[in-house]
């Protein structure tokens, strides 16, 4: 870890990692295209898929961002018992394995779900979760927590002194919004929106399970089809290119909108800001309660269904769980080292290219990535021997963009507020890391580590061409489902959910206590 950071002195480490990422993601794409002897044309259905993908990603990202602002504001300015736990819990849907989340959403919003039962009892027409509305509902469910966390971090990055100053100047809520909150949102929202937009761009399983039919076909499914149905690697490569092109465009756009909020530094005494009383308090309470209901209810439903079955889980599931935990921890270490190095170097030289490279993993199709790696490594090593390191590395790389989103703003502030002081004290290398960077970035670092570990835990290892001999927990879940053992699968889902969340909680809490 230190070695990676030591290389940062002049941002060299970051540039190196960024270059490696670009080579990996674009190189695998090139390998697929080379295998296919070029890119091939898209069908009209593909164009429809591209259009639907962009449209639903825009709607999902905008809704997530829009709904996240009142929730984040309420959490930032209100204190109540269990608040810290709630903040952590609200992060849970984002790290849920997709298949588990869909189970939960269906048990709440499905035809047979609790909500529709209540609606039927009232004699109203049913709500259907299947169709574009289901895709968007699921995406908001997944990504609202991420948006809330990123925006909440923005709120917490405004030094408490600013709020106290505002108070002494008799600022009303409107003035606070104008001078403090809006500039902060202007800095934070585009990044949060972008992250969600990109996640929804490559979403695959959600659209398939809840999309209601081929109208809701995403680019990732078209890639899957090109691979599995048509063996048309050229089309897969073209679609992979399209995904990356959309990503780069969206990034440039959001960079253009975002304006850094320069609040300067405070003493970080952790004094709490006081929220306005009256109807605004009611509104804040409503935002918190509604968000908690929406996000926690599906998870509760999954838990209640699977919990009684846990004692009957076969032994293989437990050993798979242990293996998954170890892999997740290794992935998390790797991801945090990489994202810290990248974030510090982005903060140091504001290089747009490095930042774009850091976001690329979000839009790399796992299928293209896996196949490209397979083609590249085919001649030199046996895929069996590569399966494990490749899976761990890909998991770490896939989690990078999330770590970056949390770390970049913090690293920028750090540089701006303490950079000159640290330079004048000639504080470099390990001393700078130990005394300044780690303590100051503990929160986003913990958050990033927790996210990486949890995401790695829930990943199915979509690397279809690498033999999946590593029986991870998500794989066991699928195998149980594939052999009709639905009850065992739901117990396995609870275990997977608990472990993913447990890992996230450990790191996230650790970061906040550090």
């Amino acid at each position: 870890m230190a070695a990676g950071v030591l290389a940062i002195r002049r941002g060299a480490g970051g540039a190196l990692i960024a270059a490696a990422l670009a080579v990996l993601i674009l190189g695998t794409l090139a390998a697929v295209a080379w295998q296919a002897r070029g890119f091939s044309a898209l069908s009209p259905w593909d164009l429809r898929a591209i259009w639907f993908t962009i449209w639903q990603a825009i709607v999902s990202a905008s809704l997530s961002a829009l709904l996240a602002v009142p929730v984040a504001r309420a959490l930032a300015r209100r204190r109540f018992p269990g608040r810290a736990l709630l903040v952590t819990l609200l992060g849970a849907p984002f790290i849920l394995p997709v298949i588990v989340a869909i189970m939960g959403l269906i048990s709440v919003f499905g035809r047979n779900g609790l909500l529709n039962e209540a609606i039927r009892a009232l004699g109203l027409p049913e709500l259907s979760i299947y169709g574009w509305q289901g895709v968007i509902l699921a995406h908001v469910f997944f990504n609202l927590p991420l948006s809330v966390r990123l925006i909440l971090q923005g709120w917490q990055s405004i030094p408490a002194e600013r709020f106290r100053l505002a108070e002494s100047l008799d600022f009303g809520p409107r003035d606070i919004a104008r001078h403090l909150e809006r500039p902060m949102l202007r800095a934070v929202l585009p990044g949060a929106w972008l992250a969600v937009f990109l996640i929804c761009l490559t979403s695959f399983t959600v659209a398939l399970a809840l999309g209601g039919g081929p109208k809701a076909t995403t680019v990732e499914l078209a890639i899957y089809q090109a691979f599995r149905f048509d063996f048309d690697l050229g089309r897969a490569a073209t679609l992979g290119m399209v995904q990356i092109a959309i990503c780069v465009l969206a990034m440039l756009l959001s960079r253009w909108i975002a304006i850094p909020s320069e609040f300067g530094s405070g003493l970080d005494l952790g004094r709490q800001i006081s929220g306005p009383p009256g109807w605004r308090r009611m509104l804040d309470n409503a935002a918190i309660i509604l968000a908690a209901l929406f996000l926690l209810w599906p998870m509760l439903a999954v838990t209640l269904r699977g919990l009684p079955q846990i004692p009957q889980l076969p032994a293989e599931v437990w050993s798979a769980a242990l293996r998954s935990i170890i892999m997740a921890l290794i992935s998390a270490c790797l991801a945090v080292t990489l994202s810290l190095t990248l974030a510090l170097s982005i903060a140091a030289n504001r290089s747009r290219l490095i930042e774009i490279a850091g976001m690329l993993p979000l839009v790399a199709s796992p299928l293209v990535l896996g196949t490209g790696l397979f083609i590249l490594l085919r001649g030199s090593v046996s895929p069996q021997a590569m399966a494990l390191p490749v899976t761990v590395a890909i998991n770490a790389i896939m989690a990078l963009p999330f770590g970056l989103r949390a770390l970049i703003p913090a690293a920028r502030d750090l540089r701006q507020n303490y950079g000159r002081l640290a330079d004048s004290l000639d504080m470099h290398g390990t001393a700078r890391l130990r005394l300044l960077i780690l303590p100051q970035l503990a929160r986003p670092l913990g958050f990033a580590a927790g996210l990486s570990a949890a995401l790695a835990m829930g990943d199915l290892g979509v690397i279809a061409l690498f033999p999946t001999d590593i029986p991870t927990l998500p794989l066991k879940l699928y195998q149980l489902m594939n052999s009709y053992r639905i009850a065992d699968a739901s117990a396995c889902a609870v275990l997977l959910m608990a472990l993913s969340f447990g890992l996230f909680w450990l790191f996230d809490r650790g970061g906040r206590l550090a």
């Binding site: 259905w45 869909i102 189970m103 269906i106 048990s107 499905g110 035809r111 047979n112 299947y130 289901g134 695959f204 399983t205 398939l208 399970a209 809840l210 999309g211 209601g212 039919g213 081929p214 109208k215 499914l221 899957y224 089809q225 599995r228 149905f229 063996f231 076969p314 293989e316 050993s319 242990l322 293996r323 170890i326 892999m327 196949t371 397979f374 083609i375 085919r378 069996q384 021997a385 399966a387 494990l388 390191p389 279809a464 061409l465 690498f466 033999p467 999946t468 001999d469 590593i470 029986p471 794989l475 699928y478 195998q479 149980l480 489902m481 594939n482 052999s483 009709y484 053992r485 639905i486």
Partner: protein, 327 residues
């Protein structure tokens, strides 16, 4: 699958080869090699007499083989589906199986010299008798059913059974297939990526019927003692699906691979199939099937397209399907 013997401490993926025994590498699908599939018993059964080490490699079968070409490590590929044989054959990577297929326990005759079926089933809609009082008794009745009867199907672009349904509708309705899809579309609750997601939705009570197999109820009866799941049998017929095994022409273990192929059709292998794969054995007389499989209602009529017909039909049928859902 040596992996399970591994202490977690040495997570390094270096298969501990039994150096003194020749290795037979079998590429197989995930459902085969899982603890709850037939894989472990196939491995055990073959190693009992072959004096070799059978190693499964799990993953995507055909894409992987096509990319590895003749440099592949695979000696045997187990679990290919009838819908990819044309592609697989064209690659020239597979060698003849050398078995007599005249007396197989299949509803169709099989004369393919390369791909050997080791189990089979038919597509069918499965329902729950406690939730659906009057299940449709024919495909036409399903099309005519009220729109509040909801079914879940799989996407033909990502799922084997989804593709089989595409061909099923084509075989049952011929040129009227687009109209059949148009009538079915409003009843389709959603289209999932794979079989397991759809089946899960059905067991959760989300949908009244799910696209699955005629043999699905056997699992519920045998493993859960639950008699309420049934497959609706349609007089229009049901589409035949088989899983196939083939040996790789470039194998470095030709004798071992051949002896595996010779073993597949023996009772020793075939008896593993019904209760581990929940499908029907390809070469076992009906009186030797487990009672639960013998009691299942059988379709009168089996529909099946030859490889070339299916290959020619795939894309047009998919376009029809997409159009029906894009209305």
């Amino acid at each position: 699958m040596k992996f399970r013997l591994f202490a977690l401490a040495c997570l390094a993926a270096t298969p501990a080869l039994a150096q003194d025994k020749p290795v037979l590498t079998v590429y197989a699908g995930d459902s085969v090699t899982s603890e709850w599939g037939p894989g472990p018993r196939i491995e055990e059964g073959f190693e009992a007499f072959c004096n070799c080490d059978l190693q499964f490699v799990t993953g995507d079968l055909l894409p992987r083989i096509l990319m590895e070409g003749s440099g592949t490590q695979a000696d045997i590929v187990l679990g290919l589906n009838t819908d990819v044989t044309a592609r697989a054959r064209a690659s020239g990577l597979f060698a003849p199986h050398g078995q007599d297929t005249s007396g197989l326990s299949l509803p169709i005759s099989w004369d393919d010299e390369i791909f050997l079926p080791y189990n089979w089933g038919e597509t069918a809609f499965v329902y729950d008798t406690t939730r659906l009082e009057n299940p449709p008794d024919s495909f036409q009745a399903l099309l005519d059913a009220p729109e509040d009867l909801k079914i879940v199907i799989q996407d033909p672009r990502s799922s084997v059974s989804g593709l089989a349904m595409l061909l099923w509708v084509k075989a049952a309705f011929g040129d009227d297939a687009p109209e059949a899809w148009a009538r079915l579309a409003p009843k389709v609750l959603t289209v999932t990526k794979g079989w397991s997601e759809a089946y899960g939705m059905f067991t959760e009570g989300e949908a009244d019927m799910v696209l699955s197999y005629t043999t699905s109820p056997a699992y519920h009866i045998a493993a859960e003692g639950d008699e309420t799941k049934k497959a609706a049998i349609f007089p229009e017929g049901h589409y035949f699906m088989a899983e196939l095994v083939a040996q790789v022409a470039s194998t470095d273990q030709p004798e071992l691979a051949q002896s595996f192929m010779d073993w597949v059709l023996t009772p020793d292998f075939q008896q593993v199939i019904p209760l581990a794969n929940w499908s029907l054995p390809a070469n076992l007389p009906q009186e030797d099937w487990p009672q639960v499989m013998r009691d299942l209602p059988r379709p009168e009529k089996t529909l099946f397209y030859s490889e070339d017909e299916a290959e020619a039909m795939r894309q047009p049928a998919l376009d029809e399907w997409l159009r029906a859902f894009s209305q």
